[in-house]
């Protein structure tokens, strides 16, 4: 699996990497480990490939076509114009034409045409229709796990076709015929069993938070709480479990705690919902997303909180912002003065604006920051009360915390941001090659501002981005410690004990 591969070269003269020469099937060997029966069956999926996989797959596809307007409309509407064809970071990093968004969609569209359209039934390959064979199913498994569901392609599509919708549907079908992906399904199993993706049990979580409390007291002289399962707290904080111990994530958690402390807001995490991530999205499962999301509703009810705040996490914020009301609402038992859910950056930004917290940029002296817009935050959610708040608010918080901020090239940020390369359920060692290659466009834009503007650090607001960059930065000759949490900067800069309201 960990065969040797070449890290793609950077070209700092161009903001967006040049189109690579097409190298058909150059990534055909890249497939993640299959889920074992013990990670399939608890989720209600067959343990191994079922005998009647063909009919089951077609049946499931028909069901999804009837349930998701996106899938039905997107299967029909593509005109093969190619506007998306050079927009995927995995294509730019690999040159494999099946990583062009339209070609990735066509892996399924060809089957759709064969089984669900008169043209495909009558004219077959003339209209690009083909039978679902075992090779096709394998191809789906391979290339739908080379999509991070980042939606960059959908920005440029004249019909808004979103490849993420199609890759989610494909993974849902694969799960239902017994070809789940180990990484995602093992993690979802853990969420149900233990409460978080990392399998951190309640006792360990409480110990970790206690340890953080002691460390922070030593560092700051302030008794800043890191509460677990405190009934009656005002805020339920739901944050990716990486925030509980991994660097640089945990520095962000300390930042959230300091902000709450300074604002005098009581908060708690829940040991039963100690995870913001919802990998149900990556596998396209409405059922799993629903189950995972409702842990949060239950925790909010059990702990009698008034508000729900999410920590820094990309896809989790998408599920929270865009889907939580659908899955786990209505939220009529929470304080109606606050949006449900809120992002921690909305809390911090508001506090900076109204003077609730004060930040001293000198605490981050020497740092020159840039910001990586996480794909799910950028293109599938919002912060604040205006479109594009998801770009403005994190930047304003960073700018208030550090002496110098520089944006990367404009075609690589905001709605055109490049994925880190590890999103969408790809953050696993068995996909290292595609992760490194897919990171190339972001690495290129980062290296540009490092060389041209002396950028020292890149802030991200997503646990997956942070983990992915920590891993891939060294492949591109950059220091893994360059990646920081936004709230790590806040944590350094916040003036504790001053102007307490």
């Amino acid at each position: 699996m960990a065969a040797k591969f070449d890290t793609p070269p950077l070209n700092l003269d161009h903001d967006v990497p040049d189109n690579p020469a097409l190298t058909p099937d150059s990534m055909a060997h890249s497939r993640p480990f299959l889920a074992k029966p013990e990670h399939q069956e608890p989720l209600g999926f067959p343990g191994t490939l079922v005998d009647d996989w063909h009919d089951k797959a077609i049946g499931k596809m028909g069901e999804l076509l009837g349930k998701y307007r996106s899938l039905q409309v997107y299967m029909d509407s593509c005109v093969k114009c190619g506007a998306c064809s050079d927009k995927c970071h995995y294509f730019l990093g690999t040159g494999d034409p099946k990583n062009m968004p339209v070609a990735r969609q066509d892996l399924m569209r060809s089957v759709y045409r064969k089984y669900f359209t008169p043209a495909g039934k009558l004219f077959g390959s003339f209209v690009g229709a083909r039978e679902l064979t075992q090779d096709v199913l394998d191809e789906w498994y391979t290339y739908y796990h080379q999509c991070s569901q980042c939606r960059r392609c959908s920005v440029f599509c004249p019909y808004g076709i979103d490849t993420a919708e199609i890759s989610m549907a494909a993974r849902e079908i694969l799960d239902h015929v017994g070809m789940g992906q180990k990484y995602c399904n093992e993690i979802i199993t853990k969420v149900h069993k233990i409460g978080n993706n990392l399998g951190l049990p309640e006792r360990a979580l409480a110990d970790t938070m206690e340890g953080l409390e002691e460390d922070t007291l030593d560092d700051t002289g302030h008794d800043i709480k890191f509460p677990v399962d405190v009934e009656g707290a005002e805020v339920l904080l739901v944050t990716p479990s990486a925030d509980f111990f991994a660097e640089p994530h945990v520095d962000g958690l300390i930042g959230y705690a300091k902000v709450f402390h300074q604002l005098g807001i009581s908060w708690t995490v829940s040991s039963e919902a100690s995870e913001a991530a919802n990998f149900g999205m990556f596998i396209g499962s409405y059922d799993q997303m629903h189950k995972i999301a409702n842990r949060i509703r239950k925790a909010a009810l059990d702990l009698k909180v008034k508000r729900i705040v999410f920590g820094e996490c990309g896809h989790a914020w998408r599920v929270a912002y865009s889907f939580l009301n659908t899955y786990a609402g209505p939220w009529d038992f929470l304080d109606p003065r606050y949006p449900v859910p809120q992002h921690i950056l909305e809390v911090t930004y508001g506090a900076i604006k109204n003077g609730g917290i004060r930040l001293d940029k000198d605490a981050n002296a020497g740092m020159v920051l840039t910001m990586h817009d996480s794909c799910n935050v950028a293109r599938a959610s919002r912060m604040g009360d205006f479109p594009g708040g998801q770009f403005v608010i994190p930047r304003e918080v960073i700018k208030a915390s550090v002496p110098k901020f520089v944006d990367m090239a404009e075609d690589t940020i905001f709605e055109k941001t490049f994925c880190c390369g590890g999103g969408g359920g790809l953050l696993t060692d068995d996909l290292m090659e595609i992760r490194v290659k897919g990171a190339m466009p972001r690495m290129n834009a980062l290296k540009q501002v490092v060389e041209q503007h002396g950028v020292t650090h890149m802030a991200a607001i997503c646990a997956i981005c942070k983990s992915q960059f920590t891993k891939v930065l060294p492949y591109y000759g950059m220091d893994m410690n360059m990646i920081v949490s936004v709230h790590q900067l806040v944590s350094n800069a916040i003036q504790l004990g001053t102007n307490k309201s």
């Binding site: 409309v73 005109v79 114009c81 070609a103 865009s322 009301n325």
Partner: protein, 246 residues
């Protein structure tokens, strides 16, 4: 009445029937199929009116395509705007007393015919010259462009090279509209032109031309960014609240 007139009358009744029934059933399918989740590509308008304007911009200005590829945008606009004007120009064949405005735009419609064919030729060339586009091209994609080019060229051929009796053509179509078959001129350019138009009408609801209704139903474009304010639950998912078990 010539056999050709009868055959073409039958062909156009069939083509119109297939086009209307096919499109209506596809639109009904899109309408019936719910979007269970809020998936607008953000930043997105925060109101439904704003989202309607976003869709309108996609339809009239090809806003997203403009972000994607400028050359393609130019070719697409040449073709689609040209086609629109050409279609408007052709309305005179279906209206007995042609209104002044329609008379005035007739010359523009001729230029539009050239713009349309030029745009299509560019799109066809691009299918061969751009290696990425060549890779994703199916035979049907080329056939569709060739069909449209042939319609445009045969039309321009009648305008500039070998005119047909357009008064008779008009009488033929006005006749069809009141179920009376009038003689159609036996003119090779005209028969080719009309045959191809009928073919286009017939393939429309079975082909990628469904992007025309599809764009109106694209959830990434037509949804408002308001999920925190407005709970969105699809009819098929209504039972999920009861499944929570607590």
């Amino acid at each position: 009445m010539s056999a050709i007139s009868i055959a073409y009358a039958a062909l156009f009744y069939l083509a119109a029937l297939v086009l209307v029934v096919g499109l209506v059933s596809k639109i009904a399918q899109y309408w019936r199929t719910p979007a269970p989740l809020k998936i607008a590509t953000t930043p997105a308008p925060m109101t439904r009116t704003g989202a309607a304007f976003r869709v309108a911009r996609e339809v009239t200005l090809f806003e997203s395509l403009f972000k994607g590829e400028k050359l393609l945008w130019v070719l697409a606009v040449l073709f689609h705007a040209g086609l629109l004007l050409v279609v408007v120009r052709h309305l005179r064949y279906f209206i007995a007393d042609v209104p002044t405005l329609l008379v005035l735009i007739q010359p523009i419609g001729v230029y539009a015919g050239f713009a349309m064919v030029a745009g299509l030729a560019g799109l066809l060339a691009r299918r061969f010259l751009n290696p990425r586009v060549r890779y994703i091209t199916n035979p049907s994609d080329i056939a569709m462009l060739v069909l449209l080019i042939a319609i445009g060229v045969s039309g321009l051929f009648m305008k500039f090279v070998l005119p047909t009796d357009i008064l008779a053509v008009k009488a033929f179509f006005l006749g069809l509209m009141r179920f009376s078959i009038q003689p159609l001129p036996v003119h090779p350019g005209l028969l080719i032109h009309l045959g191809l138009v009928a073919a286009l009408m017939i393939v429309f609801p079975f082909s990628k031309l469904l992007h025309a209704p599809g764009v109106f139903f694209s959830p990434t474009r037509n949804q408002a960014d308001d999920p925190r304010e407005r709970r969105h639950v699809a009819p098929w998912a209504a039972g999920y609240d009861a499944k929570r078990g607590f």
